[in-house]
C-alpha cells in the first residue's frame, strides 16, 4: 500500500518535472549568491559555508511544501486517500517519503558541487552530504505537519514558513554544526548523532500530527 502511494506521487512528480527543477535551481542560486556577494575571501567563505548551505536547503524545501497536499486537496483525491482501508499515517508516510525523494534528494546530491564554491575541503564535503542526508527527512516530516495545517488557506505559503521554520532550528544547528566541526578539524559525530535523534523523533511524532491535521482539513 505504502509502495503504491510512493509510486503514485513519484509518477505525478515526474509528470511535473518543472516543479522539481525549480526547487533545485533555487537552492543552487541562493547558495551561489553568497560567494559572489562576498568576494574571494576564502577564510570567511569557509566559515559561513555550513550555515549558508543549510539555510538554503531549509528555504528550498519550504518551496516544495505547498504542493505536498494542496493538489490532492483540490481535485478531491485527498478525500479518497483518507477513505482507503489503511491508517492515515501510512498515507502520510508514503507521501512524505515521496516528497523526500523528489525534493530533498536532489539537494543532497547537488550540495557537494555548490559547496566547492566555498573552498570546503574534500573530507568535509562528505560530511556535508551525510548531514543533509540525515537532516532532510526531518525537513520533510516536520514540513508535512505545516503543509497539512495550512491546507485550503489563502496565503498558506507564508503561513507554512512561519509555522515550520522555527521547528527546523534544531536540524539547522546540528546539521550546520557537523559541517563546521569538520572544517575546524574536530569530530562531527556528536552533531550527526543528535541530528539522527531529531530525525527519529520527528518520524515518530509528525505523521500522527499530520494525519490529524488532514482529517480536520477535509471536514
Amino acid at each position: 500500500m505504502l509502495r503504491w502511494i510512493v509510486w503514485r506521487d513519484l509518477t505525478l512528480a515526474w509528470r511535473r518535472r518543472a516543479d522539481i527543477l525549480s526547487t533545485v535551481f533555487f537552492f543552487i542560486i541562493v547558495v551561489s549568491l553568497f560567494p559572489l556577494g562576498i568576494g574571494p575571501e576564502t577564510e570567511l567563505l569557509r566559515s559561513i559555508a555550513p550555515g549558508v548551505i543549510w539555510v538554503a536547503a531549509l528555504l528550498a524545501s519550504m518551496l516544495s511544501l505547498n504542493r505536498l497536499f494542496a493538489n490532492d486537496h483540490q481535485d478531491g483525491t485527498l478525500e479518497q486517500l483518507l477513505l482507503t482501508p489503511q491508517p492515515v499515517f501510512m498515507v502520510v508516510l508514503g507521501k512524505v517519503l515521496a516528497h523526500w525523494i523528489v525534493s530533498e534528494i536532489p539537494l543532497v546530491l547537488i550540495a557537494p558541487l555548490v559547496g566547492l564554491q566555498f573552498d570546503i575541503p574534500n573530507d568535509t564535503l562528505w560530511i556535508l552530504v551525510l548531514s543533509l542526508l540525515i537532516g532532510t527527512p526531518v525537513l520533510s516530516l516536520i514540513g508535512s505537519v505545516g503543509a497539512a495545517l495550512t491546507l485550503g488557506l489563502r496565503g498558506g505559503g507564508v503561513l507554512i514558513s512561519i509555522l515550520v521554520l522555527p521547528l527546523y532550528i534544531p536540524a539547522l544547528i546540528f546539521g550546520a554544526g557537523a559541517v563546521e566541526a569538520s572544517i575546524m578539524g574536530t569530530t562531527p559525530a556528536p552533531h550527526l548523532y543528535l541530528l539522527g535523534a531529531s530525525a527519529i523523533v520527528s518520524l515518530i511524532f509528525s505523521p500522527w500530527a499530520t494525519a490529524a491535521a488532514l482529517r480536520i482539513s477535509v471536514e
Partner: protein, 196 residues
C-alpha cells in the same frame, strides 16, 4: 452542523441490503454533509452511524473496505491517464486491477480509445466517467454517490442506472444525492427529502 447552522436533526434511518436511497433537497440543505457523515469524513455533531451493528468510529479503517464514496470533486488526477487513474485508485484500496481489466472497465464506461490520454485532455464528463469506473471494480457493499450525474450525458446516466441496479440486485446498498430522478427499478427504493 455546519458552522452554527443545524442542517438536519432527528434523522433515524436504517437500510437493508438491496436498498436504494435517493437523497434530495434544495441547495444547501445538507445532502453532501449527510453523505460525508455517512462515509466517516465528517463527524456528526450528535448521534452515530452504525454499519452492520457496529459504530463506524470503532470500525475505523475496516469500514472503508465496505464503502465507496464518490464526491462531486471526482478525484481524478489530471497528470495521469485514465487507465493509471483507475489502477492506482484501486490499488490504494487494496484491489489489483490488471491493465486488461482496466481497459475493459473503461470500454464499458464509454472511454475506449482514450485510455492512455492524460486526464487533463478529457472533458469534464469523461473525467467523471473515469471516476465512476471505480464502481465496476470496487466490490464494496455501500455506495455513496454525491451529485455524480453532473455533466454526464444521457447514455452515461443510463449506464449509471444499470450499474446501480446490478449493485442492488447483488445485495448492495446505494445512497445517491441528486436532483435528477434516476428511476431505479429496485425491490426497495426510498427517498429522503431534506428541507432547508
Amino acid at each position: 452542523m455546519r458552522g452554527d447552522r443545524r442542517l438536519f436533526s432527528g434523522l433515524d434511518l436504517s437500510l437493508a441490503a438491496g436498498t436504494y436511497l435517493q437523497v434530495t433537497g434544495p441547495n444547501g440543505s445538507g445532502k453532501t454533509s449527510l453523505l460525508r457523515i455517512l462515509c466517516g469524513l465528517l463527524a456528526p455533531a450528535e448521534g452515530e452511524i452504525k454499519w452492520q451493528g457496529e459504530s463506524i468510529r470503532s470500525l475505523a479503517e475496516d469500514f472503508f473496505t465496505s464503502v465507496t464514496y464518490l464526491g462531486h470533486r471526482h478525484g481524478v488526477k489530471d497528470e495521469l491517464s485514465a487507465i493509471e487513474n483507475l489502477r492506482i485508485s484501486n490499488a490504494l484500496n487494496g484491489i489489483v486491477v490488471t491493465k486488461d481489466r482496466a481497459r475493459e472497465v473503461l470500454a464499458r464506461m464509454g472511454l475506449a480509445g482514450r485510455e492512455s490520454l492524460p486526464a487533463r485532455l478529457l472533458s469534464e464528463g469523461q473525467r467523471r466517467r473515469v471516476a465512476l469506473g471505480r464502481l465496476l471494480t470496487c466490490n464494496t457493499k455501500l455506495w455513496l454517490l454525491d451529485e455524480v450525474l453532473t455533466s454526464l450525458d444521457k447514455s452515461a446516466v443510463d449506464l449509471i442506472r444499470s450499474l446501480i441496479e446490478e449493485h442492488l440486485a447483488s445485495g448492495g446498498i446505494a445512497i445517491v444525492a441528486t436532483h435528477q430522478d434516476l428511476a431505479i427499478a429496485a425491490g426497495s427504493s426510498q427517498r429522503l427529502e431534506l428541507a432547508t
